[in-house]
Symmetry: C2
Subunit: 216 residues, 2 copies
Amino acid sequence: MVLVSDNDSATSHAIADDLKEKILAGKYKPGARLIQDELAIEFKASRSPIREALRMLEADGLVTIKTHSGAWITELNFAEFEELYQIRERVEPLMLRLSIPHLTTKLIKELEATLEKLNEATSVEQFLKLDREFHLLTYEGAITSYLGEIVQRMWNTTQPYRRRYSQILEREHFTSAHLEHTLLMKAIKRADLDDAERILYGHIRRTRLELQEQAE
Amino acid sequence: MVLVSDNDSATSHAIADDLKEKILAGKYKPGARLIQDELAIEFKASRSPIREALRMLEADGLVTIKTHSGAWITELNFAEFEELYQIRERVEPLMLRLSIPHLTTKLIKELEATLEKLNEATSVEQFLKLDREFHLLTYEGAITSYLGEIVQRMWNTTQPYRRRYSQILEREHFTSAHLEHTLLMKAIKRADLDDAERILYGHIRRTRLELQEQAE
DNA sequence: TTAGAGTCGATTGCATCCAATCACAAGAAA
DNA sequence: TTTCTTGTGATTGGATGCAATCGACTCTAA
């Protein structure tokens, strides 16, 4: 699967990519309205490519479109967050299983480098970015078409919750996450599929439960 | 979750719904090219709503769009089929688990009626339609936003393989499917979540393995 | 015969204009 | 005051025309 954006010359794709980055960076807040004309001015294009870009982002789960009404940055309520995490618990271990056998030594080195940087992260934004990078890298070996899309989509839409969770983690300097990441890395290195699946399952599940606890 | 199409007045939605139905019915073959102008004439509309409809179908996984090149009915290769079924094995049992506690007596009756008709099905097309109806009905209790979409999408894109599988089943008058469906129905009626999950998992897995066997 | 460059038609992508729709506010009736 | 109606402005949806791009074909040269 490909992590980086494909160099698609079409402006609608360029707009979609740019908007996506901004949304994930939290520059557009969940629930914020997107007005086609304003975007057209911002991106110096007509509304046609804007409309197409919005449709693409809708497919990514980042934007919600309502006919004759408008487009908004997708806002997950708590029930939806729980649902998404339950799906992640079942699906991402599968993705990891499909990935591990195809991880090259180069990728493993990259993973270790990312993990090291991740362990040294101090700010929330830094942690968020590197955490995403680390996990998506562990999936890089999986030769998939749909699974990768699904997983990415879930990472996209749950980003605001991960940000909130990271703020909780910050208090204890991300230690529990670090431990799990290290365990996961070891399981990956010895290509232990079952163990890797189990650790990842627990990792996602713990996040969900801790956020549920926080919410009460 | 809603199975029937929502009455969205916009023509782009109407076109998307119509196209979707035709694709699922096998009226457009996998791999077939879709030309915007031709669709515009067919649906008596301009290309704008056609383009939007194609984007929606792309999100549904029914159509594949390539920039500056065109749109085709999605064609699953065998590896992609295997992948999708592996996802289904993990995800649909979860959907069933979330659904069962919320199934109303009215829905259960509907399920039983569908199952009866399904057991009497003789033609492949009849079996396909009722099988889809039965399984999606078992998920009807799940109050989900994303999971339902994912599941529907997978049902959409794997439809051609299910058609092929049904043709195999036809030889033995669909008996093995009937048995599993009956077992599933019983587990649902006694609200046995674990058992229902297990039966469904096996049901999907067996389909995958039998088709893999056939393919060799 | 085959490989490569150039050309042309078909088709997609984008801009612009007009029509359709919705949300909101102001006013009228109970 | 509250509720219903009506109108108006903002915004989205769709039609049309033009520009950009791709792919297939032809022609040429080795």
